[in-house]
Symmetry: D2
Subunit: 268 residues, 4 copies
C-alpha cells in the first residue's frame, strides 16, 4: 500500500509558520558535566519553521532526533555524553538537520538541578533544588544562539516595615528568575546564574537547617532588608557584569501580609 | 435513522462504577444570598453511579441538569435564585432525578468568594478573595450530605526562631484549608468557615494595606507567633466547637527560610 | 510617630525597572456590555516603571486604583459600568495617574467568558467557556495600546492518518490562542476573536450535545481534517483580515496517539 | 547561648495532629532496580504524628532522614542502593526512628518513570513517560503499608458515536490512574500496574510513531471503541485479579467534542 505524505502537499492557505513541532515531551537525558554524569528527566520542546508551500511537518522525525542524540551519547559511553544541556540541545538540532528540511530550529529543555551546598553555621551538606530551562536556537543564517533561564527561591524582608516598626518587619518567600540570551559559544554556567540570583535576596534559603543555621538565616534576613525592587536591581546589575548577552530579570514575592504577590521586572 | 443507545447495552466486564460523569465544566451561576445576587464562574463536576449491567451513562443529561437548574432560577426571577451554592447543587441533583436513573449522585462546585473587609488601622474597605468548594452528595438511601471546603491565605511567624533570636523570627505566607462534612440541612455559612481559618493564623492578611495598616499587621504577627501546628490545632478546635460534622484541617506554610513547604494536618 | 517612606530613598544600585507592581490579585469586576451587566472574578496585574533614583513603589496605591475604578463604576450605577475589560483597565490607569508618579503603566485582567451558543442539530442553548486576557499599556509618550488574548478549545482530525487509513484517523482536543496587539481605540470584540479561532478547528466543540448534535460534530470533523498547522494558518489568515494590529497565533493539540502535544505558532 | 526548644513545650490547645512534616521537597534519588541504577528527581513529603502535649516537631530531622537514607545508599556503593522507591521510603522512616519520637509516619515520593517500549509496526524503540507516586506508611502498631499510584496516558474511541455514524467516531486522549493500597511486603511492580492501565484503553500511545505505526494505532482504536466507563471497568477487573490490596481506579477523558472532561471512578 502506498503511503500518502499529506505533509508534503500545498496547503490551501499559504502562510509561513515560524514554530511547528512537539512540546511537553518528557524523557530521560544524561549530561557529563566536568567528568561526572548527571541524569535528568526533562521536558522537551522542538520546533522548526514550515514554508508557505508545505502543509505540515513529519513530527516523528523530531522525536527521533531526541532519541538518537541521547543514544549517540550512550553509545560513545556515558563518559562521552553531552557536556551540558545546551550541547544536548545542539546535538538534537544536528540530528534533525539530516532528517527534516528547515531554515530555523529551536530546542527547549526544562528540568531541575539539585546542587549540594553547605548550611551557614553547622556546615552540614544540604541539597538545593533549582528550576532551569535551556533553549537552543538555530537561526536562518545557520548561526546558533542560546537562552538560559534559572528560577531560584529566596526571601525578602521589607525595609519599609522595618523602618516603621523598630526593626520588626514582614518577611516572605520570593522567587527570582534570570534569563540570558547570548551567542551559543558564550560560556555561561547555569550554576553561576543561580549564584547571581541566590546571592541577591535578603538571604539564601536551605533545605536543611539546624537551629544554629536557622538563627544565622534569621539574623541575616534582618541585617539585609530588601524590597522586591532591590532584589531585581541587584540580580540585574550583577548579571550585566558577569554575563555577555541580553538579560531579563523577574522577581516575585509571595507577600506574607497580602493574599496577592508583588513583582519587579526589568531587562536590557 | 434509528439512534443506537450503546450506553444501555450490557458491558462485557460487569463491575459497578461509583462515580461516572462530567468534570472541569466551567459555567456561570447566580446565587441569591441574603437578598443580594452574586455571580460566579464556577467549575462543576457531576457524577452518578452506574450499575453492573449498564455500559455507560448519557453524559448530556448531566449537562442539561446544570443548565436547567440555572435557568429555572433565572425564570423565577433572579431574586428567587438558589440561596447558596449547596442549594444550587441540590437543584442540579433534583433536575437529574427526572432525567437519568441512578442510586447515588454527587455535584461539586468550585469557585472564588470575594468578601469585603475593613483594614485593621485605617478602616478602609478591602476585598479579600477565598477559594471555596461545595459538594452535595445524594446517598443510596436518598439522604443528602454536603461537604464544604474553604481555602484561606494567612501567615505564620515562627515561635522557635523568635525564642532563639531575641524576638526576631522568620515569617511567611501560609494557606489554611478547612473541610466540614455534614448533613445537608446543617446550616453552615462558608463565611463562618473562612472566619475560623482566617482568625487562626499569626495574623489575617489584606489586599489593601496603607502604612498604618501594614504596621498593625506586622506588630500583630510578632505578638502572635505560631507554628503551622498551632494554626492547625486552632482551626480544628474552633471548627469542632462551631460546626457539627466531620472536620478535616490542613495548613501549609510556604517557608521563607526553606525552598520546601511545611504541613500540618488533622481530622475528626 | 513619623512614617518613613523608604520607597522614596535613593537605592544603592541605580537601575531603572520597567515593571514593578502587584500580581495574582483576585477580585470582582462588573462590565456593562451592550446594556447588560456581566460579573467577573478576574486576576489582576498592575505595574508601573520605577526610575533609577527611587528605591521602590507604594504598592497600596495600585490596589486602591483597582478598588476605586470599580466603585466609581458602581457609584455611577452599575448600568454606567465600564463597557469592556479594556475600558476597566484604562480606568484603573487613570485612577493611578493621580496617585503615583510613573512614565509607563500596564494593567492585565485575566478571566473567563461564558457565551451562549446553539447546538448544531437540536438547536438547544449551550453555554461555552473561554479564557480571555486583556492588557492595557500606557506608553511613555502617553499613548495607550492594548493586547487582547483569547484561548479556545476545539479539535483536530489528522488528514495524514485519514489518507492512509481509508478515512479512519486520529482525533483530539486542541487549544487555539490568538493575541492581537493594537492601538487602544481600535474596536475589536473578544467575541469576534473567539469566533476566528473557534471556526478554524476541524469542528467547534459544545458543552451540551444530544445524540443528533454529537453526530453532526463527528460528521463535521471527518469532513474537515486538519493538521495543527492548518488550524494555525487559518486563524492567522482570518485574524489578519479582520483585525488591525500585530497578530500572534499558537495552537496546541493534545494528541490522542501520543503522550506529548504538538504545537504550531506564527506571528506578524 | 542556650537554645530554646519551643517544639517541646505544651501547646495551649491540646489536639493530636495526625500528619505534620515537610512537603514539596525536591531532591535527587537513586534506585538500583534489578541491577541497574536509575536516577530520579522526586518530590518528597514526610510526616509524623504529634501528640496532644507537644507543640511542634523538629522539621530539620525529617530532612536529615531523607539525606541520610540517600547517602547511606551511596556510601554502600550505588550498586547497593535501595531496590525500589518503597524501599527508599522505608529507609527514610528507619532513619527517622532514631531521630524523632512518633507513633505514625508517612513518606510520599512522586516522580516520573521513563520505560522503553517497542512501536507497534516498525518495532523501533520508543521511551514512554509515566507519573508514579509511592507512599509508605508506618502504622501505630509498627506495621508497614504502602500505597502505589500510576498515571498513564492513553485514548478512548467512543462506541456510541461509532454505532450512530457508520464507524466514524470521536477519539481523544484519556488519562488512567490506578492506586493499590497493600501490605508493605506485597510484591507489586509499578511497571505491572502501568501495564494494567495502558492495556485497558482503546489503544496504548507512543512517543515515537512512524507512518506504519500511526496506522496500526489508528486501526487499533477503531477496532476497540471504549467509553471511559469501559476503561475504568477493565483496569479495575484486571487490577483485582493481579494485585492483592485495596484498588482505586479513576479515568479522565479530555473529550474532543466538548470543552470539559468526562470521568469514571470506582474502588474496592
Amino acid at each position: 500500500m502506498p503511503i500518502f505524505e499529506t505533509q508534503e502537499e500545498i496547503p490551501e492557505i499559504r502562510e509561513r509558520l515560524h514554530r511547528v513541532g512537539i512540546t511537553n515531551l518528557r524523557t530521560v537525558a544524561k549530561i557529563n558535566w566536568k567528568g561526572r554524569v548527571y541524569t535528568f528527566l526533562p521536558l522537551f520542546e522542538i520546533t522548526i519553521d514550515v514554508p508557505e508551500e508545505k502543509k505540515g511537518i513529519h513530527m516523528s522525525r523530531l522525536v527521533e532526533s531526541i532519541t538518537e542524540a541521547m543514544s549517540e551519547a550512550v553509545e560513545e559511553e556515558v563518559m562521552e555524553a553531552h557536556s551540558s544541556l545546551e550541547e544536548l540541545g545542539k546535538a538534537v538540532i544536528y540530528r534533525l538537520e539530516g532528517k527534516h528540511p528547515h531554515k530555523r530550529a529551536e530546542v527547549w529543555i526544562r528540568t531541575h538541578l539539585i546542587i549540594p551546598r553547605e548550611t551557614p553555621a553547622s556546615k552540614k551538606t544540604t541539597y538545593e533544588p533549582y528550576d532551569v530551562e535551556v533553549g537552543v536556537i538555530k537561526n536562518e543564517d545557520g548561526s546558533f544562539e542560546k537562552i538560559l533561564r534559572v528560577k531560584v527561591i529566596g526571601n525578602t524582608a521589607c525595609p519599609h516595615a522595618m523602618a516603621n516598626n523598630n526593626g520588626k518587619t514582614h518577611i516572605q518567600r520570593a522567587i527570582g528568575e534570570l534569563e540570558v540570551r547570548t551567542a551559543f559559544d558564550e560560556e555561561i554556567a547555569l550554576e553561576d546564574m543561580i549564584d547571581v540570583v541566590e546571592s541577591s535576596f535578603s538571604h539564601p534559603t536551605y533545605t536543611l537547617l539546624k537551629t544554629v543555621d536557622e538563627n544565622a538565616v534569621v539574623q541575616g534576613m534582618y541585617r539585609n532588608p530588601k524590597f522586591v525592587e532591590d532584589v531585581a536591581r541587584e540580580i540585574f546589575a550583577k548579571a550585566k557584569k558577569r554575563f555577555k548577552g541580553r538579560i531579563h530579570v523577574r522577581v516575585i514575592s509571595n507577600e506574607s501580609i497580602h493574599k496577592h504577590d508583588v513583582i519587579a521586572e526589568t531587562w536590557s
